[in-house]
C-alpha cells in the first residue's frame, strides 16, 4: 500500500494548478515537435534546458514528461498523414497508417493510434508505478562494481538494439564516450583531451551534442537529399471509429502494450523491436490477412500501443538506476544532473515529491493527450504545411540560440557545427546517433563507478568477477558482443 500512498501524494503534487499548467504546456509542445519533421522530444528538452534552469525541478520534469509522451502522439500523427515517416519507432505505424489515410480512412487510423497510445500509456504507467519501487529497492544493494557491470551491459545492448549493425552502434557509442572524456578529470583534476583549448576544460556539454546531432545533422541530411514533394493525406470522412474498428483494435492494443513495456524496461531499451514484433504478430492473428499491405487497422493499433508502452518502460531504468536507454532519456538524465540530482534508488527517498509527482503527471499527461489529440488534428495538419525552408531556418536559429545561451561562448557554436557535420555523416551512412548521446552522458558515470570499485579493491580488477551479480552482468555483455559471431560460426560449421 506504500506505493499507492506515494502515488496519491504524487497526484497531490501533479494536480496543483501550476503543475497542471506545466503538464499542459509540455504535452502541447511535445505533440507539436512530434508532428514537425526534423525535431523530436530529445532535441526539444535539450533546447529547453538552458531556460528551465531557474524553474522548480518538479515543474520542469512534469513539463519534460509531457514533451516525452506528447512527442510519441505527435510522431504517429505525422507517420499516418505524411508519406515520409519520422522517427524510427513509428516507421511501422506509417506502413499501414499511411495506406489507411490514402484510402480516406485517416480519421480511424488517427483514432486507433491515439486511443491505443492512451491505453498502452496508462497500463504501462501503472506497471511503472509498481515495478519502479521494487527495482529501486533491489538496486539499493548495488555497489560500484555492480553499477559498472550494469553500464557495460547497457552499452553493448543499446549498441546492438539501436541501429542495424553492432559495430556501427558501438562506433557511435564509443564516439560519445570519447567526447565525454574531454575536460578535467573529476577525481584527480587532470586535464584530458582538451587540445589546449581552455573552454574544453569544462568538457563538451551533452546539450550541444544533442542539438548538433539532431538539429544541425538532421538539417544537413534533409537538405542534401533531392526528394519529390511531400504529400499530406487529408483527413476525410468520419474521424470516429466504427464498431468493427473497435472490435479489431482492442486486442492489438493490449498485445502491443504487453510487448512494449518489458522491452522498454530492460536496460537495453529500444522502441523499434516491440513495434516490429507487434506488427508481425497482428499480421498472423488477423481475421482479414488480405487487408495487410492495403491499410489494416490492426497494423496501426498494435505497433502504436507497443511504441508508447515501451516509452513508459524506458523510465524504469532511468528513474531507478539512472540508466538512460534512449536519446530522450539521456537528455532527461542530463536535466537531473543540471539540478544536482542523481536518479537512482535513493531518489525515491530523497525526492519523493519529484519522482511521484513525475509519475502521477504521466497519467495526467496521457489523459490530456487523448482529449487534445483528436479534436486538434486540424491544427497539427496545419503545422505540417509550414514550408520547409522556413521550418529548417527556424530550427537552426533556435538550435544555435540554445547552444549559445548555455555559456555565452562562440567556441560552443564551433563545436556545434563540427558535431553537426559528424551527425550528418552518421545519418547518411546509417550509423545510429542515439548510442552516441547515451555514451556521452553515461561514459563519465561508468568511469566513476569503475574507479570507485577499483579503489575499494586496491586496484584489483578481479573485483568485477568476484561479485556474482557484476560477473553475471559482464558475462551477459560478452554474450551480446560475441554471441552473434559464435552463432554464425557454429551454423557455418554445421553446414
Amino acid at each position: 500500500m506504500a506505493t499507492l500512498d506515494a502515488l496519491l501524494h504524487g497526484f497531490s503534487v501533479a494536480l496543483t494548478l501550476q503543475n497542471l499548467g506545466w503538464a499542459f504546456l509540455g504535452v502541447l509542445l511535445g505533440t507539436a515537435v512530434g508532428v514537425l519533421p526534423g525535431i523530436g522530444p530529445a532535441l526539444t528538452v535539450a533546447l529547453l534546458l538552458p531556460i528551465t534552469f531557474n524553474l522548480d525541478p518538479t515543474s520542469a520534469f512534469i513539463m519534460f514528461a509531457g514533451i516525452y509522451y506528447g512527442g510519441m502522439y505527435g510522431g504517429s500523427t505525422t507517420s499516418i498523414l505524411l508519406n515520409t515517416p519520422g522517427e524510427s519507432a513509428s516507421i511501422i505505424t506509417s506502413i499501414e497508417g499511411n495506406l489507411m489515410a490514402k484510402k480516406g480512412r485517416g480519421g480511424p487510423a488517427l483514432a486507433t493510434a491515439a486511443i491505443g497510445s492512451f491505453i498502452a500509456g496508462t497500463i504501462a504507467t501503472i506497471a511503472l508505478t509498481f515495478l519502479a519501487p521494487a527495482v529501486a529497492d533491489f538496486a539499493l544493494r548495488f555497489g560500484p562494481a555492480e553499477y559498472f557491470a550494469l553500464m557495460v551491459l547497457s552499452f553493448t545492448t543499446v549498441s546492438a538494439v539501436l541501429g542495424n549493425s553492432l559495430p556501427r552502434g558501438l562506433a557511435s557509442l564509443l564516439f560519445g564516450v570519447a567526447l565525454g572524456l574531454v575536460g578535467i578529470d573529476s577525481l584527480t583534476s587532470q586535464a584530458r583531451f582538451t587540445l589546449g583549448i581552455p573552454q574544453m576544460l569544462d568538457g563538451i556539454d551533452v546539450v550541444i551534442v544533442v542539438i548538433g546531432l539532431f538539429a544541425v545533422g538532421e538539417t544537413f541530411y534533409v537538405a542534401t537529399r533531392k526528394t519529390g514533394p511531400e504529400t499530406i493525406n487529408s483527413v476525410k470522412g468520419s474521424t470516429w471509429m466504427t464498431k468493427e474498428d473497435w472490435a479489431r483494435s482492442w486486442k492489438p492494443w493490449l498485445r502491443g502494450t504487453a510487448l512494449g513495456f518489458p522491452f522498454g524496461a530492460m536496460p537495453s531499451g529500444g522502441g523499434e523491436i516491440p513495434t516490429f514484433m507487434s506488427y508481425a504478430i497482428e499480421k498472423r492473428l488477423t481475421t482479414k490477412p488480405e487487408e495487410f499491405g492495403h491499410g489494416a487497422i490492426e497494423g496501426v493499433a498494435g505497433p502504436e500501443a507497443a511504441n508508447n508502452s515501451a516509452a513508459a518502460g524506458v523510465l524504469v531504468p532511468l528513474l531507478t538506476l539512472g540508466l538512460p536507454t534512449s536519446a530522450t532519456a539521456a537528455i532527461m538524465l542530463a536535466a537531473f544532473q543540471q539540478y544536482g540530482l542523481q536518479p537512482g534508488p535513493l531518489l525515491f527517498d530523497t525526492n519523493p515529491d519529484l519522482v511521484w509527482g513525475l509519475i502521477a503527471s504521466l497519467y495526467v499527461g496521457n489523459t490530456m493527450l487523448l482529449i487534445l489529440n483528436l479534436p486538434l488534428v486540424g491544427m497539427w495538419v496545419k503545422l505540417l504545411q509550414i514550408p520547409r525552408p522556413y521550418l529548417y531556418g527556424g530550427i537552426l536559429v533556435f538550435a544555435t540560440l540554445g547552444t549559445y545561451s548555455l555559456n555565452n561562448s562562440i567556441v560552443d557554436l564551433m563545436t556545434l557545427y563540427v558535431v553537426g557535420i559528424v551527425g550528418f555523416m552518421m545519418r547518411r551512412f546509417d550509423i545510429p546517433v542515439a548510442p552516441a548521446v547515451i555514451g556521452l552522458i553515461l561514459g563519465p558515470l561508468c568511469e566513476q563507478q569503475m574507479r570507485r570499485a577499483l579503489s575499494i579493491s586496491q586496484g584489483d580488477f578481479m573485483i568485477f568477477l568476484h561479485e556474482p551479480l557484476s560477473a553475471g552482468l559482464l558475462l551477459l555483455a560478452c554474450v551480446v558482443l560475441i554471441g552473434p559471431m559464435l552463432w554464425k560460426l557454429a551454423r557455418r560449421a554445421k553446414a
Binding site: 584530458r192 537538405a223 533531392k226 525552408p389 549559445y404 557554436l413
Partner: protein, 170 residues
C-alpha cells in the same frame, strides 16, 4: 545482415567511398586518443592504483578495434550507406554549403553584430539552401522571427543575448 543479397546491383562501387573513409576516421580517432592518453600525467598520490588514464586506455583501444571491424564491414559490402544506393534520392552538396555559410556567418557575427543580425543571416542562408529564392521575403521573415526571439528572451525569459550594433536601439 540478412538483407545484403538484395543490395546486389543497387550499389555503386568505388574504393574511396564514405563507409571506408569513416572506418579509417574511427581508427584515426582511436590513435588520436591513444596519443592523448599517453599525455595524461599519472601521479602517484591518493588514488595511485586507479590512474586517470585507465579508462581512456580502454576506450582508445576499443575505438581502434571497432574501426577495424567497421572497415571489414565496409570492404565486404555489408555496410552500405545511402550514398551508395542507386535508388536513394540524389545527393546534392549545394544546400550543405549554403547552410555551412549560414552557420559560419553566425559564428563570426554573433558577438560582433549581435544576435538579431547573425541569426537572420543564418535563417536566410538555410532557407535559401532549402530552395527559397525570394531573398527579400526570406530576410524579412527571418528578421521578424529573430527580433521577436531576441525581445522574448531578453525581456520575457531574462536570457541575455548579444545586442551587438543594435544595442541601445532595441
Amino acid at each position: 545482415m540478412s538483407d545484403s543479397p538484395s543490395l546486389e546491383g543497387r550499389t555503386r562501387h568505388s574504393f574511396w567511398r564514405g563507409e571506408i573513409l569513416l572506418s579509417l576516421g574511427v581508427i584515426a580517432l582511436g590513435i588520436f586518443y591513444v596519443i592523448g592518453t599517453i599525455a595524461i600525467p599519472t601521479s602517484s598520490s591518493g588514488y595511485s592504483r586507479v590512474s586517470p588514464a585507465d579508462f581512456p586506455w580502454g576506450i582508445s583501444i576499443a575505438l581502434i578495434v571497432i574501426g577495424v571491424f567497421l572497415l571489414r564491414e565496409a570492404l565486404s559490402g555489408k555496410w552500405v550507406g545511402e550514398g551508395a544506393l542507386a535508388d536513394a534520392p540524389a545527393f546534392t552538396i549545394v544546400p550543405f554549403l549554403w547552410i555551412s555559410v549560414g552557420l559560419i556567418l553566425q559564428i563570426i557575427l554573433m558577438e560582433r553584430a549581435g544576435f538579431v543580425i547573425a541569426a537572420t543571416a543564418l535563417f536566410a542562408c538555410t532557407a535559401y539552401g532549402f530552395g527559397a529564392r525570394n531573398w527579400l521575403f526570406v530576410l524579412l521573415i527571418g528578421l521578424v522571427i529573430c527580433l521577436a526571439t531576441y525581445l522574448g528572451f531578453s525581456y520575457g525569459l531574462d536570457v541575455g543575448l548579444p545586442g551587438g550594433v543594435l544595442e541601445g536601439v532595441i
